[in-house]
């Protein structure tokens, strides 16, 4: 099989229900290829975060299985699995009692890297997300703006150099201008880092801009998987609704 086509994350007929029997995801099958960025698009409550959490085994499927690198997540040691998957949490989820430096250096510290190596890595990551290290290293999360927090969240997820990245609306809290800016930076980063990324968003524009493919979710079901080109002409009525919204947004911004 072609290296670029190799499936590294796979959902096989996965459903997830809560203890109270409420079904959050039903019969979800999809695969993510090495090096690609799959965007999960769907409205609030459609099951995007739930899907991400099944990948790093924060949740376990009720039926079906999720495979990472060809192995069911249930066969992975959850700690090992999570340390090889960078996780950018919705609303950043930084540790309020750690400085930016300790937040970013967390996974390297858990992995017992040498202190000098951690320091160097933290500097590198801060520079990567566009925050001057000398100004930010010793700050606490409460001393950062929302956008800076999200950048630190991205830096933290990348610090352990994991092959996979799960990003849950990482740019959600940003104003439109900064958002476009950070999206552009992120694209450049993607090209350089070549990670396998699952990126959650409810913003069509973002899904189209960042995704090599787009998985559309609606009420816990997969509507379809499309390349950006396919998505714009998808016959499915739900996809069409998104496309219409996207074009309307475009028209507005051209006024």
């Amino acid at each position: 099989m072609n290296e670029a086509q190799e499936t590294v994350i796979e959902f096989r007929r996965v459903s997830f229900r809560l203890a109270n029997e409420h079904l959050l995801l039903s019969d979800l099958s999809l695969s993510v290829r090495r090096g690609e960025t799959l965007t999960l698009l769907g409205r609030s409550g459609s099951g995007k975060t739930t899907t991400l959490k099944l990948i790093n085994r924060m949740l376990e499927p009720s039926t079906g299985e999720v495979r990472v690198e060809g192995r069911s997540t249930l066969d992975w040691d959850p700690i090992r699995l999570r340390r090889s998957i960078g996780y950018v949490i919705q609303e950043a989820g930084l540790f309020p009692h750690f400085t930016v430096e300790r937040n970013i250096g967390l996974v390297p510290q858990l992995e017992r890297w040498a202190p000098e190596k951690i320091r160097a890595r933290v500097h590198e990551m801060l520079a990567l997300v566009g925050l001057p290290p000398e100004r930010f290293l010793s700050r606490y999360p409460r001393e950062l703006s929302g956008g800076q927090r999200q950048r630190v969240g991205v830096a933290r997820a990348l610090a352990g150099d994991p092959p996979f990245l799960l990003m849950d609306e990482p740019f959600g809290a940003l104003d439109p201008l900064t958002r476009v800016e950070i999206q552009r930076e992120f694209r450049a980063l993607q090209e350089r880092l070549k990670k396998t990324i699952v990126f959650v968003t409810h913003d069509v524009r973002e899904a189209l801009l960042l995704g090599t493919r787009i998985a559309l979710l609606e009420e816990g079901r997969l509507v379809g998987i499309y390349t950006p080109g396919e998505f714009l002409h998808a016959p499915d009525p739900i996809a069409a609704t998104y496309v219409a919204a996207y074009r309307a947004g475009d028209a507005n911004s051209n006024l």
Partner: protein, 211 residues
């Protein structure tokens, strides 16, 4: 003789009883933390147990202290020595604030932060020691402070069963109807409570992340 000169004349004994008092308070607080902290943590992991355990600790606190000393008196190993008995009773009193604050402190940690910790690949122990306990530390130490102040007060009653401490002066003063003697116990006890509260306040500020 004025109260002050009475104090000066008896300073040796005041000092000795203060040290005894400190021994009662210190050892029962250490025991209460050694038992209450792990127990509070356990309750956050087995929440079904929290109602009965905290309820039981609550009931212990409602028992009048003198009665609690009395109840423990016939206990085999405890009843042999008065200070052993007193320390046990004081520990039981101090337990509730320690358990309750540990429990509520940890449950009060932002679930998003706990989730992030697990998602980064922290083990249960790392989540507890690196995230939950540091973030709950302010609340836990507030419980320790309350317990300490309560214990300093209740420990004066330990003198009634011969466990010593500043209560000796108070009981003696009441019997002699001599305010100077009562004050020789009451003032150092009050100062001790204030001092310990102050010290623990400093520790709290040192160990709590948000100043």
């Amino acid at each position: 003789m004025s109260t002050l000169s009475f104090f000066i004349k008896n300073q040796g004994q005041i000092l000795q009883l203060t040290l005894e008092h400190l021994w009662l308070v210190g050892s029962s607080m250490l025991l209460a933390i050694a038992v209450g902290l792990p127990l509070g943590i356990l309750l956050t992991r087995r929440r079904a147990l929290s109602k009965p355990v905290i309820g039981a600790a609550n009931i212990v606190q409602t028992i009048p202290s003198l009665a609690l000393f009395g109840f423990l008196l016939p206990a085999p190993w405890l009843g042999e020595r008065a200070d052993r008995l007193a320390i046990t009773a004081l520990t039981l009193y101090a337990l509730l604030p320690v358990i309750r604050n540990t429990y509520t402190g940890i449950l009060g940690v932002d679930p998003g932060v706990r989730e992030a910790a697990r998602g980064m690949g922290m083990t249960d122990g790392q989540v507890l020691f690196q995230v939950e306990l540091p973030l709950a530390m302010g609340v836990i130490l507030a419980g320790v402070r309350v317990a300490t102040v309560i214990t300093v007060g209740v420990a004066t009653i330990a003198a009634a069963i011969g466990a010593g401490g500043l209560g000796e002066f108070i009981f003696r003063g009441v019997a002699m109807v001599d305010n100077r003697v009562i004050l020789a116990g009451a003032i150092p006890a009050a100062l001790l409570a204030l001092l310990l509260d102050l010290l623990l306040g400093l520790v709290e500020r040192k160990l709590t992340y948000a100043h």
